[in-house]
C-alpha cells in the first residue's frame, strides 16, 4: 500500500507536534479499549467461579482461574430440556456451514463467470435480480420457506438448512465472483476460445487458477454469515438440528436453575471461536477483497 497519509504537523513546533501525537495515540488507545472490553469481560468472566462473579467486579482479573465453566458450556449446559452443552450444536453448525459454503461458492463462481465473461441477452437482468436478492429482509421469505421445506420433506433437518443457506447465499457469491471476473480482460476468454477451449475448460484452466483471492473472500463471507446465522437456524430447525447460535441463545435465556454467567460467557466464546479464528487467520485477505470491490463500485 502506498503511503498517502501525510504529516499533520507541518509548520508546527516540535512541542505542539508531540502533544498532538500524544492525543492521537491516547484516542486510538481509548477506542481500542472500547472494542476490547467486552471480549476481555467475556474471557475473565468465563474463567471465574460463580461465587467470585457475585462478589467481585466486572473488570477484575479472576482471583482463581477455573475452567469448569468451559467444561459445562461444552458438554453439560442446558438448552431447555437437553443438558449436553453446545458440543452437539457446534457440530450441527459445522455440518451446515461446510457444505453450504462449498456449494454456494462453487455455484456463485460459475454464475459470476457467466455474467462477467459469457454475457448474453438477459444475463445482466439475471445479475440485477440476483443482486437485489442480496438485500431482501429474509423475514419476507420465512413463511413460504417453512412450507416449502415441509413439502420437500426436509423441514427441521440439516439438509434443509444447507439448502436455505445455499439459496440465499448465492446472491453474494455471484456478486463477488462477477465483480472479480469482470476485471479480467475478455481477450483472455477470446484467446482461449481460439485455442480451442470450451466453456468449462476455460473456467477450469484459466479462471479458477486466478480466483484464489476471491474464493477466500467468498468462503470467509459465507462461512461467517452461515455460522453466525440465527434467523434461519431458529426458524427452520428442531431440537436435534439447531445450530450453535440458537443453542447459545437457549442456554443464556434458559430460565431453569441458577444463572451461570460464567457458563454463558464460555458458551458465547465457543460459539464465536470459529469465525474469530477465520478472521484472525484470513481476515486480511477478506478486507482487502471486500474493500477493493466497494471502492471500485
Amino acid at each position: 500500500m502506498t503511503d498517502m497519509s501525510y504529516s499533520p504537523s507541518r509548520g508546527q513546533s516540535p512541542a505542539l507536534k508531540l502533544v498532538l501525537r500524544s492525543i492521537l495515540y491516547i484516542l486510538l488507545g481509548l477506542f481500542a479499549l472500547f472494542y476490547l472490553m467486552p471480549l476481555f469481560v467475556m474471557i475473565t468472566t468465563s474463567l471465574k467461579s460463580l461465587d467470585e462473579i457475585r462478589t467481585g467486579d466486572l473488570v477484575s482479573l479472576p482471583r482463581e482461574v477455573t475452567f469448569d465453566a468451559w467444561r459445562t458450556a461444552w458438554s453439560g449446559a442446558c438448552t431447555g430440556i437437553q443438558c449436553e452443552g453446545v458440543k452437539p450444536f457446534f457440530l450441527n453448525s459445522l455440518l451446515i456451514a461446510v457444505p453450504a459454503v462449498m456449494i454456494s461458492t462453487l455455484i456463485g463462481a460459475l454464475n459470476g463467470y457467466v455474467v462477467a465473461q459469457w454475457r448474453f441477452k438477459g444475463s445482466n437482468i439475471f445479475f440485477a435480480l440476483m443482486l437485489f436478492g442480496c438485500f431482501i429482509p429474509f423475514q419476507v421469505v420465512l413463511l413460504p420457506m417453512a412450507r416449502v421445506l415441509g413439502l420437500m420433506g426436509v423441514a427441521g433437518t440439516i439438509p434443509g438448512l444447507i439448502f436455505v443457506h445455499v439459496i440465499y447465499g448465492l446472491g453474494f457469491t455471484t456478486l463477488f465472483f462477477r465483480n472479480y471476473y469482470v476485471s479480467i480482460p475478455s481477450e483472455l476468454t477470446k484467446a482461449a476460445k481460439v485455442d480451442g477451449a470450451g466453456f468449462f475448460r476455460i473456467f477450469w484452466s484459466i479462471f479458477l487458477p486466478l480466483s484464489l483471492p476471491i474464493i477466500v473472500v467468498a468462503v470467509i463471507w459465507q462461512f461467517t454469515q452461515i455460522w453466525n446465522d440465527f434467523l434461519f437456524g431458529v426458524s427452520f430447525s428442531q431440537a436435534g438440528t439447531q445450530p450453535v447460535t440458537v443453542a447459545l441463545n437457549n442456554i443464556v435465556n434458559s430460565t431453569t436453575g441458577v444463572k451461570e454467567y460464567n457458563v454463558d460467557m464460555a458458551a458465547a466464546i465457543i460459539a464465536a471461536l470459529p469465525t474469530l479464528f477465520v478472521y484472525v487467520v484470513a481476515g486480511k485477505y477478506f478486507i482487502r477483497g471486500l474493500t477493493a470491490g466497494s471502492v471500485k463500485g
Partner: protein, 290 residues
Amino acid sequence: MTRWLQDNMPKIVLAPSFIAVMVFVYGFIAWTAWVSLTRSRLMPRYEIDSFIQYERLASSPRFEVAMTNLFIFGALFIVIAMVLGLLLAILLDQKIRTEGAIRTIYLYPMALSMIVTGTAWKWILNPELGIEATVQGWGFANFEFNWLVDPDMAIYTVVLAAIWQSSGFVMALFLAGLRSVDEEIIKAAQVDGIPTWRVYSAIIIPSMAPIFLSAFIVLAHLAIKSFDLVIALTGGGPGYATDLPATYMYAMAFSRGDIGQAASSAMVMMLVVFAIVVPYLYSELRTKDD
C-alpha cells in the same frame, strides 16, 4: 446436439440459479404479499380480503413501538457508526506505527455473531452484576446505569451494541476510501499550503461520496434486518419496549400463530428496504452498464 449444448452452456449454467431466485426470492415475496392481503391466522388462506392486515398493523400499539424503534435505532446506529467509522479511519490514517494491530482490534467484532454480541453486552449491562454494580463497587454508590431494564432506554443499549459490532467495518471502508484518493491531488493541495483539516474536509471526504453511499446502504440494511441482536440482548423487552419489525414478524409467525400479521409486517420491512436499496441499485447498475 453437442453444438447446441456448447452454444447454450452459459444459459444452462445460469438456469438453476435463475429458477431458484425466481421461486425462492421473487415467488416467495409474491406469496408473502398475497397472504398479507388475506385473513390468514394459524394457517395461510388465499382469499384476498383487502388491506385488513395492514389496518391491524396500523392500529397495533406493539407494531407502532416496533416502527418507532426501527427509526430511532436505524437513525442513531447509521449516523453514529458512520461518524465513528470516519473518525477512526482519519485517526488511523496519520501514519500510525501499530496500524495493523489497531485495525484488527477495531474490526474483530464484525466476525462475531449478533447472538454473541448480544450475550456479551447483556452481561456487561445487567444492573445487578455488570457495569452499574462494578462502578458502585468502586465507591460511586449513586451511579446508575440500568438502561437494559428501563423500557424508555433499552433501545439505546441495542444501538450501543450494534455500533460496537459494526463501526469497525465502516472504518475499514472509509480507510480504504481515504487511501484511494489520488496522491497527486493531496500533494498539490499541500504545495498550495492548504491546512490538513481543509484537505480532509474539502478534498478527501467529498471524493469519497460513493463510499458514504455504500456504507449507508450496508448499515441501513443491517438495521432493518436486525433481529438476533435484539433477541439476544433484550429479547424484545422489557415488555415489548425494544421490539423491531423483525422481532414482531417473528413473534407473529412462530409464537402467536398469526400468519397474516407476520406476512404484512414482513412486507412493510420489504418496502422500507425497497425504498432505500432500489434507487441505489438502479444507479449502480446503470452506471456500470455504460
